[in-house]
């Protein structure tokens, strides 16, 4: 008896020693704060200290170098983690106590783990390139300095979002990203439509924020903590003890609402296409590398909830799949080069969310990364195209023709070869052509959703995802064919003004093109070998606890089956490309002018009338209600009854009380004695 007790105590001590030893071996990562400080220095210098007469070049390079410095820190962190044992790769770095109220203990702290390191590498890496590109693109803008201030601010908040070790710290970044995106989308606020687009993004994001807040409230009230390292075990514990199951599902769904707002999922995706109103580098930054990935990041970070609650996971998978297909179909009929890319972003984000719903969190993050490469490239490429078109139209002093409309382009292949080739590589990547990065990540997601179907899940995510893949290939190649092939369709004479963009713009394009091609090779499918998927192995420690909690071990597919899936996916993509080639190259079809839209095509062109439905179903009633409240309640009851009524009551009361304030000292003495009597009586009565 005694002996066994001693043994147990000994075991506990050993376990404690291991923990202490592990903590002692953990490197000091406090320098991670520089990740945030560099962009912040950029904000302070560009936004507050430097004045207008500073040359553009200096401002731009200052902003860019700050992000590059952050990237260097991120790389250092990556190698630091690489040195550690995989199961020790989760380090909390506390900087200061933030909120310690009762049982609520929130520190301002980072969580450095494989997931957050991937995110910071993507965010800082892509942002660096976009910053450099912006130096060329934003050349001669009157608010050049402000632009770089906002961009640095944006990166600052995004890094805070992915580094925070608890939901509240993440939420600061979450809200800050919303603010920065509002500032950037509405950057050219002189144009009313652009200012409205910024507003729309902000308001729609608020709906998602509401979901995140509710999720946090639920976590705190039922699980008692908000820190990542504590809340997930608490959730698993609650679930295994069969308490608060409904709450776990509710948290999962509320987080999904938040993710739908930030990551532009159905039905909250409407802000993203409009957000194209911002300068093109902003589109690339927000819609490729950073903001929209926040929702996916949060879903992956909260994987425990979805592992525990299959219901919530299924909803996530369906939202993602539906968004992927829905946005892809809209993309078929858009004529604005940036709108096409916007809907393709929504569609690709659908894939990532779907991945989180079929327990393929690693694959979702993998697609997030490859998508960041090729979508940033596509946006920057489209920016270069617009820049070129702008130059051409400027050449003949045409300020009415839309430089973003693909119906005015065509044959640009010869004029701007670098842009053309890089754009083509990105298109091949997004279409899922084997060898390019998008192929590997998309294939992994589809494989996982099929695996999920194999283990008793629904076939719908896989089916919808597959169809969307084909449509994606089609509309992306439609875009390429109409923009770069055929005859130039712009106004006469403008052709002479078309020139390749400056080096600050083309060099980021080339770097991103290389990444778009090779970026997927770190995550080779299982058919090539068990441990070749370095990326999944790297992220495994993050998602391992979730899989362990529910003892979920999806059956790996047989090798022939996997080959078959790859073959199907590639075939569908190729069909899409061949159809596009057939329509737009062989038959030389053109994009349809606005006044000849008809049938279902018109519905697609009008984006399923979703904005109109929201307008009629939500916004109009809201405005009418507000108008009613304004006229009937505010003006009559509040203004008439309460505001003026209060004034009238006060004036009347003042008139009565004025007689007491006669200024005669004696009257004050009487009042005083009355007060004393009241006090004495109250003592006596008590």
């Amino acid at each position: 008896m005694d002996h066994s007790m001693e043994q147990a105590v000994e075991q506990v001590h050993q376990a404690a020693d291991t923990v202490v030893a592990a903590a002692a071996h953990a490197p000091d990562l406090h320098y991670a704060i520089w990740l945030l400080l560099f962009p912040l220095i950029g904000v302070v210098f560009n936004g507050l200290i430097l004045r207008k007469n500073i040359p553009e070049k200096m401002t731009g390079w200052l902003g860019s170098f700050m992000i590059i410095a952050s990237f260097a820190v991120a790389v250092k962190l990556f190698f630091e983690l690489l040195k550690l044992d995989p199961h020790l790769r989760a380090i909390d770095v506390t900087f200061f106590q933030w909120l310690h109220v009762g049982s609520l203990q929130i520190d301002f702290a980072f969580l450095i783990d494989p997931l957050s390191v991937v995110m910071i590498l993507v965010v800082t890496g892509i942002s660096s390139l976009i910053h450099i590109y912006s130096i060329g693109y934003m050349h001669d803008d009157p608010r050049f300095r402000v632009f770089f201030t906002y961009m640095n601010l944006f990166v600052f908040f995004m890094l805070l979002l992915v580094l925070g070790n608890s939901y509240p710290v993440m939420f600061i970044g979450w809200e800050g990203v919303g603010l920065a995106s509002y500032l950037l989308i509405g950057f050219w606020w002189e144009d009313m439509a652009k200012a409205t687009a910024g507003m729309k993004a902000f308001v729609v994001n608020r709906i998602g924020d509401f979901g995140v807040l509710i999720a946090m409230f639920l976590m705190f009230s039922h699980l008692g903590t908000l820190t990542f390292s504590e809340v997930f075990p608490a959730a698993a514990n609650a679930w295994s003890n069969d308490i608060n199951n409904g709450v776990v599902i509710a948290i999962g769904l509320m987080l999904l609402l938040g993710a739908a707002g930030k990551s532009a999922q159905f039905p909250l995706y409407v802000w993203l296409p409009d957000a194209m109103a911002g300068p093109t580098p902003v589109s690339a930054l927000i819609h490729a590398a950073t903001m929209v990935t926040a929702g996916v990041y949060m879903l992956a970070r909260s994987n425990m909830f979805y592992m525990l609650a299959p219901t919530a996971a299924y909803v996530v998978a369906m939202v993602g799949a539906v968004t992927a297909l829905f946005a892809a179909t809209i993309g078929l009929r858009q004529n604005d080069i940036k709108k096409v890319l916007a809907y393709s972003t929504v569609s690709q984000l659908g894939y990532m969310v779907m991945a989180c719903g079929v327990y393929a969190f690693g694959a979702g993050i993998f697609h997030l990364m490859t998508h960041a490469f090729f979508k940033a490239l596509l946006f920057l490429g489209s920016g270069a195209v617009i820049h070129t078109m702008h130059g051409g139209l400027h050449h003949i002093n045409d300020h009415h023709t839309d430089p973003q409309d693909i119906r005015n382009m065509g044959g640009l292949r010869k004029k701007i070869p670098i842009t053309y080739w890089t754009f083509l590589l990105a298109t091949l990547a997004i279409s899922g052509i084997p060898g390019f990065s998008g192929f590997f990540s998309k294939d992994e997601i589809l494989a996982y959703s099929f695996m999920n179907f194999n283990s008793g899940g629904s076939i719908l995510p896989y089916a919808l995802g597959l169809i969307a893949a084909g449509i994606t290939a089609f509309y992306m190649f439609r875009l390429v064919f109409l923009t770069f092939f055929g005859k130039y369709k712009g106004p006469e004479g403008s052709e002479e003004g078309l020139h390749e963009s400056p080096g600050t713009m083309t060099i980021p394009l080339i770097v991103l093109a290389i990444l778009s091609v090779v970026g997927g090779w770190i995550g080779l499918p299982a058919v090539f070998g068990e441990h070749l998927n370095k990326f999944a192995g790297w992220l495994d420690p993050v998602f391992h606890p979730g899989f362990e909690a529910v003892r979920y071990h999806p059956e790996h597919l047989a090798v022939p089956m996997e080959w078959a899936l790859i073959a199907v996916a590639v075939t569908v993509s190729l069909i899409g490309i061949i159809l596009a080639w057939n329509f737009y190259m062989k038959q030389k079809r053109q994009a349809i002018p606005d006044d000849q839209q008809s049938g279902f095509g018109k519905v697609l062109w009008q984006k399923y009338y979703v904005d109109e439905i929201y307008d009629a179903g939500v916004i109009r009633p809201l405005i009418n209600t507000c108008h009613f409240l304004w006229k009937q309640f505010d003006e009559k009851v509040i203004d008439g009854g309460m505001v003026h009524g209060t004034a009238r009551t006060v004036r009347w009361g003042g008139g009565v009380l004025r007689t007491l304030q006669g200024g005669v000292v004696g009257s004050y003495a009487v009042m005083m004695v009355i007060g004393v009597i009241v006090i004495l009586l109250s003592l006596y009565i008590r």
Binding site: Q661, G662, G663, V665, G666, A669, V673
Partner: protein, 103 residues
Amino acid sequence: MEMTLGLNHYLILAAIMFCIGMVGVLTRRNILIIFMSVELMLNSANMTFIAFSHYLMNPEGMVFTFFTLTVAAAEVGVGLAIVVTIFRKTESLDIRKLNLLKN
């Protein structure tokens, strides 16, 4: 029951004197008389202190009275100076004419 001089006798007398002083303060218009009434009230309070001090065998009440006396002396000094100033300004001792607070 034999009538013995108790604490209550002093307290009741002091209370009555206090109220007489209060009537003077509240009803008279002559500043000087109001002043004297205040002195009356102050003395009644002093008497209460001393009576308690005596019956509770605690010297602190008397010490307190000593300080009250000091304060009263100071108050009378300053107060009468104010009365003199007021009289020089208004040629009257009527408190109702002192309604500058009204504005």
